[in-house]
Symmetry: C2
Subunit: 289 residues, 2 copies
């Protein structure tokens, strides 16, 4: 079992109730810190999806919307799943991730069936332009990056994932942000594990915050994230491309697309997040490569 | 009081409970039909937001995610609002729209504060390119369009709104779809009423389905819609631009941006919807202008 699958494991403890435990190995650790400051949002959503899919009449989480209310502690918690509808085409469940009687994350998930391959049944089919990434060999191995790694350099989320970033979107690492809120890269786990719905939930929130490209720094907490699974992904590294349309009043949006190794659009997301503290203070930007 | 405000009115009937009634004047009427087939999704979301904002500590619905489960009947219903968190920057409520003991729409809403004007407080600020629409005088007055109007030609949603469409996106009306899943137009009510959060909830789902541009026809039911309010809109007509990234397996996404008369991005949405019946059958496309 991969570290990721261990981190998102759930244990059924009653009718629609699942016990979970936040895994330090996917925590976000503040720059220079030694204790986890937060959990990666994608891992948290994947954990909730494990609980929802346990009793779903349909195999795929086609639409997942999640509001992030409180930062979890690295302790046990519970997912409470309530099915609101189980229809022939789609089923919808409400899921709350609860710790100490407080809701950490409130989600609604609609499940359905998605095409497994490029074959169509004569029905309408259309896809926009894919993102343009350089070959993976020309990309920057991000490794653990400031804002996600502790004093020991190995802890947390950034040590679990293998991110190879388009160099056009990594200038912020040497204090020279591109001036555009865009991030692009190849994404996978450091362990060998084929992509599925859970890994897509991680992939849509896998890149450094797009506002780093505008000179912002620091952890950018997600307030709300909705993602749509659009196809069953093929094995191989995923391509993730994220952009932003508007930053103001401390809020920004981040839209990500995930394409699989076979060149198909497999997931889309948009999140609303808060600009991290330390923004507009380029002298405190992360150290050079 | 405008017809729109009457249609989204709520009456508090208890702790977190609000009585509502679906208004025929915003119903979607099937082509050739005389009885409402469904409610406009935007009106339904606006109604739920009225209930949520009644007791919100913050003025603006910054993130609203809604899953559409069942088609309402034109009868009374109830919105049940449960506050999950009321914080200093954001507050989150869960809201269920219930009729005859069944959830029609399940929503989670996070409220906060948004900038009212272009002034910034020294914080990070950035916006992408606005949509390019022709002058409003060169646009097509859509009027009631097939799929939204009954035998009498005046009933329902399409009779309440004033849509002036970019002619590049209206070829489907004469059986000649553009081949691109895009819609752009100016949006307002036929009555005089300044835009606010409720009208933005309507605007993000105001255009004909983007898949009409690919030759699809028929009502395209929304499965999930999330929208973000990004600024308080100025008076005047709104510009709405919608696109799609992927259609397959009967599912399509539709992303809309709403810009106000002062040229600011005021709302963003993405929805996952089902392709309507009648797709790929251009001989049944709507009649010519």
């Amino acid at each position: 079992m991969s570290v990721f699958d261990e981190a998102i494991a759930v244990r059924r403890s009653g009718d629609g109730r699942y016990q979970v435990r936040f895994d330090e190995r996917f925590a976000i650790v503040a720059q220079g810190g030694t204790t986890p400051a937060a959990m990666n949002g994608g891992v948290t959503v994947a954990m909730v999806l494990r609980a929802v899919l346990d009793a779903s009449p349909h195999p795929h989480p086609v639409a997942t919307s999640a509001h992030f209310l409180r930062v979890p502690r690295l302790d046990p918690a519970e997912v409470e799943v309530t099915w609101l509808k189980q229809g022939r085409t789609a089923a919808t469940a409400r899921a709350a991730l609860v710790q100490d009687g407080q809701v950490l994350l409130d989600a609604t998930v609609t499940t359905g069936s998605l095409p497994a391959g490029p074959r169509t049944n004569g029905e309408l089919s259309w896809t926009g332009e894919p993102p343009r990434l350089p070959p993976i060999g020309e990309c920057v191995n991000l490794g653990p990056w400031p804002g996600t790694v502790g004093a020991h350099g190995t802890a947390g989320y950034a040590a679990q994932v293998d991110l190879r970033m388009d160099p056009a979107t990594t200038g912020w690492r040497r204090g020279d942000p591109a001036g555009l809120p865009e991030m692009r890269g190849y994404f996978g786990l450091r362990e060998e594990r084929d992509p599925d719905a859970y890994l897509l939930a991680l992939a849509v929130d896998s890149l450094p915050p797009v506002v780093f490209g505008l000179g912002a720094a620091g952890w950018a907490p997600t307030v709300e994230l909705t993602w749509h699974m659009r196809a069953v992904p093929s094995p191989g590294p995923l391509q993730v491309a994220a952009r932003c349309r508007h930053v103001s009043g401390g809020w920004f949006d981040e839209e990500a697309e995930v394409w699989d190794a076979a060149g198909r659009l497999v997931a889309q997301s948009r999140q609303l997040a808060r600009v991290g503290r330390g923004s507009r203070r380029r002298e405190q930007a992360p150290a050079a490569d």
